[in-house]
Amino acid sequence: MGEGVDTHRAAVSASAWRALAYGVPLAFLAVFFVYPLVSILERGLTSGENLASPFDVLSDPLTREVVWFTLWQAVASTVLTILVALPASYVLGRYAFRGRSVALAAVTIPFVLPTVVVALAFLALLPESLERGWVAILIAHVFFNVAVVVRVVGTFWAGLDRRISEAAATLGAGPLRSLREVTLPLLAPALAAAASIVFLFSFTSFGIVLILGGPRYSTLETEIYNQAVRIFDLRAAAILALVQLLFVGLAIWAATLLEQSLAVGGRRQERDVLRPARTRGEKTVVAGSLGVLALFLGVPLAVLIERSLAVGDGHSLDAYRALGRSTNALLATPWEAIANSLVYAAGAAAIAVVVGGLAAFAVAGSRGVGTRLLDGLLLIPLGASAVMLGFGFVIAFDTEPIDFRSSPWIVPVVQALVAIPFVVRIVASTLGAIDERQREAAAMLGASPGRVRREIDLPVAGRALGVAAGFAFAISLGEFGATIFLARPDSPTLPVAIFRFLSRPGELNAGQAYALAVILMAVVGASVLLVERIRVLRPGWR
């Protein structure tokens, strides 16, 4: 191959590549997020007779109360989640031990359980004095979001060169000082990434606030729902949704600034840094951190398992057996619901990995304003009102050639919207840490940009892409946010089936709801394990 031709081709392919890496995520976001959301906001703001000013909604003391509560509980939830998750992230990102991958999969389970089910488990566990109020809300937010921090930070930690902290120790830094001055700055990008996601989830919390907070607490999201659905005041709902978006934008901006000011150019080496715990102290740390987390996450899950077995006097497998019989609660069998969930989740994970993966390459490829903007934009769907987005889909895609308001594949598309930010954050933070000298060296040796990507970036991204795919899959199994507000054809997913059983009286129905929740837990755990196994088995993707 002639040198001149190769350089030319390289230039063409590099610009085509950039166009693709920016274009696909932006187009996806524009079509499936911005367009529906703008449609519904515009409809809302221009509706109603009272077009005077938005200030009546904004100046309502109730609105200010809601905004304040939404904000502080989200900040508190984020801080608490990070504190609770950090020890386990450290252990899972540093040590190799038997059952490590099982632990990683198990941590994911709470994150994808339907909120109603978890809230009922918490009601059974919490003492009566705590069960309705902000304490219960915070505990539940931590329970749900620990997975985010463990996965994002743990994955990143596993890629940090441990020799740096070892060098610090050699130079006489104590463990605390080493943590504060060496490890935390190195972790900053991942911490900021995880924190912003946890913040957005807590900021837009809906079911948890309704059930565990009791009727006296409301967030912007529950208030938007109230205005849009109960009172059908679309104008007030749109104004509140804009307020919510404003805070989400500010939070993302702040996270980006924080990330930049904290981050130091850490030298990372992508190879397996996991090693077994050697000393007694290390073993205690591993067992202690995981034990505490297992207790915190495990007890509510154990309650669900117990409930699924409690049918009649004593315990039995009756609820599970009943799942096999035809039922009137669903339009399909529970097994079909499981199959539907898996198909939707596979679709959502595929879309999220392609779109999010491309965005990650764009984000990691440069440090310009454009990439920061793309990164931030892709986060916004996590913080947008799910009910408004669901309504947006209904009015945005309503004309014949593209009338897919009710087509089944809109479900994985919306789920992907939620999963993409995870893919970007997990993949980009890993890619961004590749030693630039490796790329330069490869280029110097005559490798085309495509080849650099193939031989250097992809193997590194492979690990993160695998983790991201598993996470995306799990997210859509749990079916978050806006999908609840979409019209669904008669192909229920697992969370929908759980809710159907739970909304019918009778002991066996409740038992079947909990039994399906246990099956959902098992499916999530197994699929995360499986997806990550595929990645590990693939040669060169280590």
């Binding site: 409809r43 109603v116 009922l120 009601l123 109960r230 993966g357 309503d398 050639p401 002991e507 129905n509």
Partner: protein, 351 residues
């Protein structure tokens, strides 16, 4: 081509294919299907659905869309260009909003002659009654007999001090049965009497929760959960459900209904304005009134058929109480006052 190029190409193809598929759906002369837009609680047995499809020659597609409130909101957003042909699931609480939104095309089904006059809520036949359900106080029989305390017999009883700390209700701002129970108190005590009733109920430490699932499964002592409150706002059909879904089946229902507290809700269906298949839509409304579907209603949706020729299943005959004269309010009255009542209720009970 790198793997990412391949992936991007695949995505592009996927998008094109999806648009093509979406495009194929339209433009046909005679729709071969009819779409029922409804809420998440709608259920139809497989063989009943198959029967409709065979007799009408139309495929019945069901589009479920959240609870009754979400269903109506989406229908209002798409008025004139609906997502389906027939909407089922608007109740008398929301009827005035639906009619004001001009959602429906009038259709008078010939089967209406088999339906009792009291369920017909719209003289222009824009909506057709399909089922009725009564929201009532339910109580845990064992809880009261074990303690030798008299269970409640009326709404008035609830403010008695012997029921302090024993009642759980749903928030009318977020729950349909919660709203129905608020309306029951308005129907019984009028204005401003209902407000005094709730003030006394609050003093009696009534527990307010967000939705029926939490109230019944989480707080009520008579159901599967481990709740400790023996009185709950639920449905007249809940006691038979406690028999049908118990293992082993008890001889008598473990819960009972306070008939004096029951409030009637009628669920209605209508042909959506802008339907692509008006003929099919009318056939579907007829079918929803047909005894075949009507007899399927109790065991699938746990409400009662409106067609007087429809026979009830034995469990319902035996364990369900259909109150003779439940409390009622006219849809117009509800429509005018609902939001204000809920606001005032919130101030009295929660603030």
């Amino acid at each position: 081509m790198t793997q990412c190029h391949k992936a991007a190409l695949a995505l592009a193809l996927l998008v094109i294919a999806a648009f093509a598929v979406a495009g194929c759906g339209g433009g046909e002369e005679m729709p071969s299907d009819v779409v029922l837009v409804t809420h998440d609680s709608f259920v139809i047995s497989k063989d009943v659905k198959a029967e409709f499809e065979e007799s009408s020659g139309l495929e019945l597609r069901i589009l479920q869309s959240g609870d009754a409130g979400e269903l109506l909101s989406k229908a209002l957003l798409t008025a004139g260009n609906p997502q389906g042909d027939v909407l089922f699931g608007v109740d008398d609480n929301l009827l005035s909003r639906a009619l004001a939104g001009d959602l429906f095309e009038p259709y008078e089904s010939p089967l209406l002659e088999q339906v009792d006059e009291r369920y017909a809520l719209d003289s222009e036949h824009r909506v057709t009654p399909i089922d009725h359900g009564e929201v009532c106080l339910n109580y845990d029989k064992a809880w009261f007999s074990e303690r030798e305390i008299e269970p409640p017999r009326s709404l008035d009883d609830l403010t008695d001090s012997r029921f302090e700390n024993l009642v759980v209700v749903e928030n009318p701002a977020t729950s349909t049965p919660g709203l129905a129970f608020l309306l029951a108190t308005v129907a019984r005590y009028g204005e401003p009497g209902w407000q005094d009733f709730w003030r006394r109920l609050r003093e009696n430490r009534v527990l307010v929760v967000d939705g029926w699932e939490e109230a019944y499964n989480g707080r009520f002592s008579g159901a599967a959960g481990e709740g400790d409150r023996p009185i709950v706002v639920s449905y007249a059909s809940s006691p038979p459900a406690e028999v049908i879904f118990a293992r082993p089946r008890p001889k008598v229902a473990p819960t009972a209904v306070v008939e004096d507290s029951c409030f009637r809700q009628v669920e209605l269906a209508g042909v959506l304005r802008g339907t692509r298949n008006e003929e099919g839509a009318r056939k579907l409304v007829d079918f929803l009134l047909d005894t075949r579907f009507q007899e399927d209603i109790p065991l699938s949706m746990f409400v009662f058929p409106v067609n007087r020729r429809a026979a009830l299943p034995p469990e319902f005959e035996k364990f369900a109480a259909i109150p003779e004269n439940p409390l009622e309010l006219s849809p117009a009255e509800i429509g005018t006052n609902r939001d204000r009542w809920v606001r005032e209720w919130t101030r009295i009970v929660l603030r």
